[in-house]
Symmetry: C2
Subunit: 214 residues, 2 copies
C-alpha cells in the first residue's frame, strides 16, 4: 500500500454488517444530509439473516444481499461476498459491525479498499469487548479507530481516531454508548478522507499527500 | 491496593529524576503558584551526577541528593534511595524522568505511594521511545498517562490520561514537545487527585471514593 489515488466519483460503497448496523445508518444519514458527497451505498450485505440493519437498509430503499455464513466454509462464503460486491459495482467496502474476519482472498479482491471501525484507541484493546477491556484496565480515555483492514485483526493503517473520556460511573454499556456517538461522526469523516484521494500511506502513517514536485 | 486514605498535610514529595526534570519543574511551579496545595518538595534525588534537574532544584533552594546508580548493584542502590527518601520524611515518591526500573523492595517501602508519568496513552506504547512508537504505528491520537508504579513496566493503576493529536508533519521531537506540554499540566493535577484522598482503587480503576454508608 503506498499512494492512494482519488477514485472516480460517485464511489459505490458496499456495507457489510451482522447486526443493527448503527454505523451503516450514520453513513446513510451523512450521505442523505450532504455531509458525505461523491458516494452512494450500492449494496448492504449481511451474513446474518435477521440482522436488524438489513431491514433498516430495505426501509431506505437500498439493495440488500444476505449470504448466511453459518455452515458455509469461510473461503466459499468470502468468494460469494466478493462476487455480490462486484456485481453491485462496489469500490469501497465498509465494515459496520461485521463480526467475521475476512480472508486474505477477500482482501486481495479489494486492495486497500476495506475500512473498519473499532471501539478503542488502537493498538490498545483490540478484539472483542474493547469497551470492557478498557474499563477493566482502568483507562481514563477511550475512543474509536477507523482503519484499513489487513490480514491481522484490528491492525491496519489508521485513518483517524476520536477520543471520549471514561467516566467514574461508567458501565460497559454507558461507555459503549459514548464511544458509539463519536463512531457515528468519525466513520463518515474517515470515508470522506479516503474518498478525497488527498491522502497517502507512508509506512503506517496516513498523511495528506504532498504536492507533486515540479 | 484498595482504599487510599487521605495522607496528612503537608505531604512531603520526593522527586526522582535522571535528566532535565521538566516535569519536576512543572510540579515545583504548580506548588509555587498555589495550584497544588498541601504539599512540599522534601528532596530531589538523582541517579545521574550531572542531571540538569539537580541544578534546577538547587537553584530553587530545594534539598538534593545524588546517588549514582552506575556501577552500584540495583538492590543496594534502591536501598540507599529508600534510606535517603525516609531521611527526608517523603510520603509520596514522584518519578520525573527517572530512567531505571525500581526494585520490588523499593516499591514495598512506599506501597501505593509511587507515581510515574509516561508519554503515551497506556496500555499503548509502553517502554522506551513511546512517541516514536506512536508515530511508527500511525496513531492519530497520542498523550500521556500518570499511573501508580507497580513491578511491571508502565503498568500500574492509572490516575489520569490526557490526549493530544498527532499532526501530519510531526517528527518524534514535535510530538514529544506537544505531549510534554500536557504532561506538565497532567502531573500536578494527578498529584492533587492522589493527595485529595478522595479516590480509591477498585480493580484497576481509580475512582472517586463513594461516601460511607451510614
Amino acid at each position: 500500500m503506498s499512494e492512494v489515488s482519488a477514485p472516480r466519483a460517485p464511489v459505490a460503497l458496499g456495507i457489510l454488517l451482522s447486526g443493527r448496523g448503527s454505523n451503516f445508518m450514520a453513513i446513510a444519514e451523512a450521505i442523505r444530509a450532504g455531509r458525505l458527497q461523491g458516494c452512494t451505498i450500492a449494496v448492504v450485505l449481511s451474513n446474518v439473516a435477521d440482522a436488524p440493519g438489513l431491514l433498516a437498509a430495505q426501509e431506505l430503499g437500498l439493495s440488500t444481499v444476505t449470504l448466511v455464513s453459518k455452515g458455509t466454509p469461510r473461503a466459499e462464503h468470502d468468494r460469494n461476498m466478493v462476487e455480490a460486491l462486484r456485481r453491485h459495482g462496489v469500490d469501497l467496502v465498509v465494515l459496520a459491525g461485521y463480526m467475521r474476519v475476512l480472508t486474505a482472498e477477500f482482501l486481495r479482491a479489494f486492495p486497500d479498499r476495506v475500512l473498519n471501525i473499532h471501539p478503542s484507541l488502537l493498538p490498545a484493546f483490540p478484539g472483542l469487548h474493547a469497551q470492557r477491556q478498557a474499563l477493566e484496565y482502568g483507562a481514563a480515555v477511550a475512543g474509536c479507530t477507523v482503519h484499513f483492514v489487513d490480514e491481522a485483526v484490528d491492525h491496519g493503517v489508521i485513518v483517524l481516531q476520536r477520543t471520549v473520556p471514561v467516566e467514574p460511573m461508567d458501565t460497559e454499556e454507558t461507555l459503549a454508548d459514548r464511544i458509539l456517538n463519536v463512531e457515528h461522526l468519525a466513520y463518515p469523516e474517515a470515508i470522506a478522507r479516503v474518498l478525497s484521494g488527498g491522502y497517502a500511506v507512508r509506512g503506517r502513517r496516513y498523511l495528506p499527500a504532498e504536492p507533486l514536485a515540479s
